[in-house]
Symmetry: C2
Subunit: 238 residues, 2 copies
């Protein structure tokens, strides 16, 4: 059976898709979905994505097993344990804990995708494991780029192209955004770190002094963990 | 002074831009903006883009100098003189006439761009003339891809990349969509006709039996005419 392999280039375009027909991969490379993958890989019990900073604060009363993470415009929101730097999601910090997380782009994309057949988290840190799993699924696949403030960004699209590179076959029909993402990957794949230096977001993160985060997020196959949405929580797919 | 050179990949993303700050180039390669360029180049007095088929019909009573053109889903709407095939915009047909036009994607993109500093029409048919003019403008430039049903398409994005190739310089700062469009153009430029064969829209138009239209729309510099929005009408920039 022919399946669709589509790319949604921005959360603003999600309404154009019949989201219920797809397995959705949410992509926010710098840095939400990289950190989520790393955290789940390091034994976090769950990560709860919430849209608003207040929802995140509300967990403060519920006990010490909750770590509160809030990021806006690339920075940790004042008063919170941490934001979405992957270095906050080490084993020492998250093992056995539940992280409640709100970010500028990633959690919104997750929220808008929740009616999909399944929602999983993509990053370079788990790409091969994710692609092996995707190839076994009987359903169409929609790669949702979180982008930057509802617009297209290069890093998420390039990653979508990298996933397509691994899974494309006669079983799938690609749409135009998927063809474009895969072509951009052909240009960027020789040196992804270098290619992404020209992005606007890379400039933005450099100003925030978090180039180390960028390098970290571009590592391949650091873990085999695939975070999957289960109700309101992201947990490890087993 | 530094100017922005940005690409809006779909009409659905236009609200993300401060449209009043830009000169907008509207792009709907297959086929609205190619036909508009050809028609204005062939001496049409004006082309009036309207959003709805009824608005188009309303001109029927106004006299024989109005030609009514309506396209939906790639086909001429029944009861209309023609749709948006460039072969309907020859000198014999349009010289001295005003065409009232409604299309699936292009007229909507025009409508959403009307608050820009200036709105001009881009196509391969006038690319060099357009780019020479753009380079002389003191303002930031937004290339608006009409896309397909509010989503990204390859042909409009590739064209945006071709424009960027001609005008990019130290005077301009590119955003991520502009970088991506220009990179896609690097992949497609060797053989644009062949590259675009893999697009979904090309498949769609082939089914409609209008491959000749596609070839026509990919011709370079058939005219120097630049259509510009003047009130509600597109006229020749002088």
């Amino acid at each position: 059976m022919i399946k669709l392999l589509n790319v949604c280039l921005s959360p603003a375009l999600i309404p154009l898709y019949n989201i219920e027909d797809y397995i959705v991969v949410v992509i926010d490379i710098f840095r939400a979905t990289s950190s989520i993958t790393y955290g789940i890989g390091n034994g976090a019990e769950a990560i709860i994505p919430v849209a608003e900073i207040q929802e995140c604060s509300a967990y403060r009363e519920k006990g010490k097993e909750y770590l509160l993470a809030a990021e806006r415009n690339g920075e940790v929101v004042s008063g919170f344990d941490f934001g979405n730097s992957p270095f906050s999601y080490t084993k020492e910090k998250v093992f056995g804990k539940t992280v409640v997380l709100t970010t500028t782009n990633g959690t919104n994309a997750l929220h808008l995708s929740r009616k999909a057949k399944k929602v999983v988290i993509g990053s370079f840190l788990n790409i091969t494991s994710l692609c092996s799993w995707l190839k076994k699924q009987p359903d169409s696949i929609l790669l949702v780029c979180a982008g930057w403030k509802n617009n297209f960004n290069l890093e998420d699209t390039l990653y979508a192209g990298a996933v397509i590179e691994q899974i494309k076959s006669r079983d799938y029909v690609l749409d135009d955004p998927a063809i474009a993402a895969n072509d951009l990957y052909q240009i960027g794949k020789q040196d992804i770190v270098d290619y992404l230096k020209k992005t606007s977001h890379s400039e933005r993160l450099k100003k925030l002094g978090i180039e180390k985060d960028i390098e970290f997020c571009l590592q391949i196959d650091l873990t085999t963990a695939i975070p999957i949405l289960d109700g309101e929580k992201l947990v490890k797919l087993v």
